[in-house]
Symmetry: C2
Subunit: 190 residues, 2 copies
């Protein structure tokens, strides 16, 4: 059964890659599988995208926007107290890790797989990281913390570390470990 | 020019994959490239390894052993004071990130790429993580810290976060951010 969508071939190709991305790596995903899963005609892939790299970087860009929007909303919804939002980020992360089968972050995984072999994907993963840092830094500023940039960087290291370690270990314990450190940092006792 | 080695075909295949691993992903590395780079005969690949997965997991296992041995020695050599070794780990990490072209950790990259598609590789990457935790925990115990397991877990999250973020950003700043958090945790002010 291929993926069915009321949208045109471009959207169907993007949705198909997005779905396949949870179980396959970028280099492990063949054009045949993408075309089959999308239900689009093979020639539409090269009509709508210059290359496989462009297709993948577009999918990753959409993932990044969706994830950041969801992460921001979920974090802000946890509390009206900013310092509690900063710590609560790690509960949001923990829920997400559980729900998404501990596959880790598609953007971090793509960066790890492609590294310097694809410039478009590198730029998308780097922009994702910068966007997450920006959100964390906005919260740090709102919390009235001193040295907000340093604090935001430290929290970003903890977020990436928790995602990576949870993916390797196959459980979300790392998010809890990271949360304890975040709590101390935000309380200013670190 | 293929990789030249005084060793037999098995060792040459392992060395070739080990070298290629810094510029290519696992799924991005074809059998042709491996055979060409090793200078071994194609048939020797399947004589010495049951599958490509076995070849890759053997290479990653060797990497893990080499990296952990190097990381332990370099960390222990930094100071005779254990609490300084725990913080100094992040300087060791920073040096390594600079030297190795910010490609990140081959084991973490393999885990991110392969996730649940290859059991052998998953087990090797998980064992690598457990071995690193064990070393950090030994240092935590020797430092006389209270709650050594929790501290070791937190330092492991920081190590993985620094490696991942440095790889994404293409610079080693994250190791310095992580070091500042580690310093506070080890000093017990966190």
């Amino acid at each position: 059964m291929h993926y069915s969508s009321p949208f045109g071939p471009r959207e169907r190709l993007l949705d198909a890659v997005d779905e396949l991305l949870d179980s396959a790596s970028i280099n492990g995903m063949g054009v045949d599988a993408i075309v089959r899963h999308s239900g689009a005609a093979r020639k539409s892939l090269y009509r709508h995208f210059k290359s496989k790299d462009e297709l993948f970087s577009t999918v990753l860009q959409r993932r990044s926007e969706r994830w950041i929007a969801w992460f921001e909303c979920s974090t802000l919804a946890r509390s009206i107290v900013v310092s509690e939002q900063l710590v609560g980020m790690f509960d949001v992360l923990c829920d997400w890790l559980h729900r998404d089968g501990l596959n880790g972050c598609a953007l971090l995984n793509a960066a790890a797989e492609m590294r310097n072999t694809c410039r478009e994907i590198k730029l998308v993963t780097r922009a994702h990281s910068a966007r997450l840092l920006e959100f964390v830094e906005r919260l740090c500023i709102a919390s009235g913390a001193t040295n907000t940039h340093a604090l935001a960087r430290q929290l970003l290291v903890l977020l990436d570390g928790a995602i990576t370690l949870a993916m390797v270990e196959g459980n979300a314990d790392a998010a809890t470990d990271a949360k304890e450190v975040a709590r101390a940092l935000v309380a200013g006792t670190a």
